[in-house]
């Protein structure tokens, strides 16, 4: 059924990604690939993996952005994966029922046995989270590592998504975002965690924590820049400088 579940017990398993801490090492993406190529949606097929133009299915990709200019500008490493939205258009557009949102915890999954590979779900997702496997002819996506988080064969401390367990900087957190008192919910409240592209109306479950304000006060741009005239425009005459100031206003 691709209609969304109307009731659940309020559990929303998801990730909280701390953009202040992420160092852009791509370990989460690599460990995701490593685990999931043998996991629920296995394999994550690679095409031409050792050639000049390798391509393949990844559930998690790390982009690097520059935000702002000058001293206040930042380089922000930005891991991007499925946000397991509350209003996932990828699920409702699915004509076969292969895409579904789990009633018990809100995780969005694809049934590879009924997916016809029409790709419409990937068109519906504004976040580019779904990737088509050209070799298998079906759509694949982040499973929130359901084969780890529920895996009784793993020691309890390892029952985390692969991306979370491997992050060397602890920039990724996993938990129940439907419970306002969970560690992840408290973290989101404390740090002002936000949704990506809220205007798309998908109501993502995963949250991003913003980079903290700079503590390098020596680099901070003063609130109002001094009105000094650049040396090159100094005419040597107070009157002409005044005219120049007037005209450049």
């Amino acid at each position: 059924m691709t209609s969304l579940p109307t009731s659940n017990d309020g559990r929303k398993l998801g990730l909280v990604i701390d953009l202040d801490i992420c160092v852009g090492c791509h370990a989460c993406a690599v460990n995701c690939k490593e685990w999931n190529t043998g996991g629920h949606s296995a394999p994550l097929t690679d095409e031409n993996p050792y050639g000049a133009d390798p391509q393949g299915v990844w559930f998690n990709r790390v982009h690097s952005f520059e935000a702002g200019d000058g001293d206040s500008g930042r380089t922000v490493h930005f891991p991007r994966s499925c946000l397991h939205c509350d209003e996932p258009a990828c699920v409702t557009v699915c004509p076969t029922g292969a895409s579904y949102k789990r009633e018990s915890d809100g995780i969005v999954l694809v049934n590879a046995d009924t997916c016809i590979g029409c790709k419409l779900c990937s068109w519906a997702c504004p976040y580019g989270a779904r990737e088509y496997d050209y070799a298998d002819g079906v759509m694949k996506k982040c499973t929130m590592c359901i084969d780890r988080i529920e895996n009784q064969h793993l020691p309890p401390e390892d029952r985390l998504p692969a991306c979370v367990s491997t992050c060397p900087a602890s920039a990724r957190h996993f938990g129940d975002l439907g419970d306002p008192n969970s560690d992840v919910s408290l973290l989101v409240a404390e740090r002002g965690g936000y949704d990506l592209m809220p205007e798309m109306g998908m109501q993502p479950v995963n949250k991003y924590l913003p980079p903290r304000a700079s503590t390098r006060h020596d680099l901070e741009t003063p609130a109002s820049p001094p009105e000094a005239i650049p040396a090159s425009t100094d005419t040597g005459s107070d009157f002409l400088n005044w005219v120049d100031r007037m005209l450049t206003r």
């Binding site: 691709t2 935000a67 292969a98 590979g117 068109w123």
Partner: protein, 315 residues
């Protein structure tokens, strides 16, 4: 968006087929064109062939065409599923109406009701096709109220040109019908011009700032892509090849599909029956060329929100 040829062919061919069936019903209802068995059968066969070829071609881009039947199951939530159900359901009244009109003369009897149901379902199917695109908020240029009317308008205009061309073979093209088709064709392209104007002037719906949430810091630019080769999302959603020719292609589509088609139809309406055949087919070829370019542009010009993560600054 990557313009998949199978989807372009499906939406244009089936659109023209459904449009032609609607016009056939309208003509039968009004009794304007004497529905000789040969003319009626020709329109039915050509329309159903276009619809069926389109539906089959739409399964070519599937990863698992053998599972296509599953797409009929989720009509409660999915416009693609609704389109599939509507497309299959439409065959029944079309075939009943075809049998009725060909063997029992459709005028003023029960068969015309099947024709009306068929016409209604044809429009519903084309509307569902439009809604597949119009319902995708991730692609702001599709998610506009003009997309469904456009799909219906082009289905009706190309369907009308198809009927005129087939009717001309049977020396049965009253001038007024060809002129009416010219008006409908121009109206459809006027709507397209309005759509182009709308998407060209629309404010961006999402930006690199909103996609990353980093707008509070300042202008956001992609510094490093996650990888140095392409991936599926970039191939499918980040299609930019030949987008720079969009302005020229729009003009070609408009001149060939709109103006040339309408001109050929006007001339066809003036000429005596045997000479109208050539001009009617010129109109058909022009209309087909125009609609194929229009549909290609519909895909190629659409920007997907996911491209914001790969260097686009707004969609």
């Amino acid at each position: 968006m990557n313009p998949a040829y199978s989807v372009i062919f499906f939406t244009t061919a089936s659109g023209a087929g459904y449009g032609a069936i609607v016009w056939l019903v309208v003509l039968a209802l009004l009794g304007i064109v004497p529905l000789t068995p040969a003319l009626g059968a020709s329109v039915f066969v050509v329309s159903l062939a276009l619809i069926t070829a389109g539906l089959l071609s739409s399964t070519f881009h599937l990863g698992h065409p053998e599972r296509a039947w599953r797409a009929l199951s989720q009509w409660r939530s999915s416009w693609l599923s609704r389109e599939g159900v509507a497309a299959l359901a439409t065959y029944i009244p079309i075939l009943v109406f075809a049998v009725g009109s060909l063997f029992f003369s459709a005028h003023n009897n029960i068969w015309i009701w099947f024709g009306l149901i068929a016409a209604g379902l044809c429009l519903v199917t084309v509307g569902c096709t439009g809604m597949i695109y119009a319902s995708l908020r991730a692609i702001p240029r599709w998610s506009t109220p003009l997309v469904v009317p456009l799909y219906i308008a082009f289905a009706m205009s190309t369907g009308a040109v198809l009927v005129i061309a087939i009717a001309s073979i049977f020396w049965a093209t009253p001038g007024i019908l060809a002129w009416f088709t010219a008006v409908i064709t121009l109206a459809a392209w006027m709507l397209k011009i309005a759509y182009w104007r709308q998407i060209d002037t629309a404010k961006p719906v999402a930006t690199a700032e909103s996609a990353t949430g980093l707008g509070v810091i300042g202008k956001v630019r992609l510094l490093e892509s996650p990888h140095n080769s392409e991936n599926y999302v970039m191939r499918e959603m980040g299609y930019t090849i030949a987008r720079k020719h969009a302005a020229r292609l729009r003009k070609i589509a408009l001149v060939v599909g709109g103006i040339a088609t309408a001109l050929a139809l006007v001339i066809a309406g003036l000429l005596p029956a045997p000479y109208a055949i050539a001009t009617s087919f010129v109109a058909l070829i022009c209309a087909a060329t125009g609609i194929l370019i229009e549909r290609w542009l519909f895909f190629a010009e659409a920007r997907h929100a996911a491209s914001l993560y790969y260097g686009a600054s707004e969609v």
